[in-house]
Symmetry: C2
Subunit: 221 residues, 2 copies
DNA sequence: GTGCTCATGTAAGGCGTTACATGATTAT
DNA sequence: ATAATCATGTAACGCCTTACATGAGCAC
């Protein structure tokens, strides 16, 4: 409990802000609780950090004076450390929410990566992967829809509900896009027949032309 | 030239595989070239690593015997190091493509994170962020569509084309989802009027109920 | 009493970024 | 001549994960 360095407020990573935001209703939470909250909602659109990271982040936030902590013995109870946001923390996280531009979303879609390098595996393998992805999307869709319904029961969760509804639609779309890709693969297979289309040829030498074709034309940042 | 450790093949990270896959058409590429390829297609669905990381990855791949390199003087030319995949590398990346299950896609959507913590900022601020996101999605949509058209001109890019078409649809959907969210926010505002709905209340104490409401019901992994 | 979940961490290391440095070529 | 781009890196650091360790309560 000490630093209060105002410069640090600006340089926290999004994960730290997320944890601080979870603590922003002025309620005491343990690291375990924080993890549960991320699992409940945030994981659908912003992954979910590991326990070890959450504990480390909480310590960091405490050193910055944005949260305080105390040990809990009353409760049951195993030993657990409870964290609570400070006035400085509340002010910092509010400034973050109001004054910081959002970073561009970042996506690492392994399935699409496989598709892009489909010549290494062939369309059948890709369709297997896509089928699995469809099931994954359906699973997430179901869970997000359920959690969104839970969020309807409490007024204070209104924004979480909106985010979870977005997630429902997102995973529904993810499902459709995968199904569409499977169709596209079928069509491509038919078009190429068993001649040297996608999947059979070693697909050599394409970068020659990339420079000329790509660089000039599009791309206004 | 050296290690050839077969165990290592299984434990490379997706980024390494992506770079190796880029080199899989047996063509000599510099680190700079690799970066350009990622910028051309992969960035739409799997971000784009920094130069420094690409150079580091290439060195690592070389130490593993999956690529070889030589200096290029002929070409123009500044000094540049050209990398080429080895037989071992080709075999390893093919095995990766065929035998490794795809990891679940990972998304870090800062805009949705803001929505989920909307009580810290209010609906007007959120709508600004969403409007910016709409423009971002439109920009990506335009670029992906352009690059997909470029990919149509070369047979060997068939899979890249499919991936880029997917990206077009993805960013179109991203746009729609953001617009829908803006509508939802408007409706929520109207419903709550200027009474203590989203945006005004400090939204206290919600985690009490999370344990009871959430844990039991849904969630089959 | 055995195993499961709750709960809190430490240690090691890989992934990935930012910042910096350098020099050569190309464009103006 | 000057600036911009091409091209290749190094250094430092922060983010994040995996693996491991520990102990306490609870279910059977």
């Amino acid at each position: 409990m000490a630093d209060e360095d105002p410069a640090a407020k600006a340089t926290l990573a999004a994960t730290s802000w997320a944890i601080l935001a979870i603590l922003s209703p002025e309620r005491e939470l343990s690291g375990y609780d924080v993890k549960k909250v991320t699992e409940w909602s945030i994981r659908y659109f912003y992954w979910s950090p590991q326990f070890s990271q959450i504990y480390a982040e909480l310590k960091k936030l405490e050193k910055l004076g944005l949260v305080t902590s105390r040990m809990d013995h009353d409760n049951g109870a195993r030993n657990r450390r409870l964290y609570k946001i400070t006035a400085a923390g509340l002010e910092a996280v509010t400034r973050w929410a109001n004054d910081t531009p959002a970073e561009p979303p970042m996506l690492k879609h392994s399935v699409l990566l496989r598709v892009a390098f489909g010549n290494l595996a062939g369309p059948e393998k890709l369709k297997d992967l896509l089928q699995e992805h469809v099931e994954f999307a359906e699973d997430m869709l179901r869970q997000a829809t359920h959690d969104a319904q839970v969020a309807e029961t409490v007024d204070a969760w209104a924004y979480s509900r909106l985010a979870l509804q977005w997630a429902s639609r997102y995973y529904a779309s993810e499902r459709e896009l995968a199904l569409q890709m499977m169709k596209d693969l079928d069509e491509a297979e038919e078009a190429f027949g068993r001649s040297g289309g996608p999947g059979s040829a070693p697909a050599p030498r394409y970068w020659d032309e990339i420079g000329e074709k790509v660089n000039v034309e599009g791309k206004q940042a």
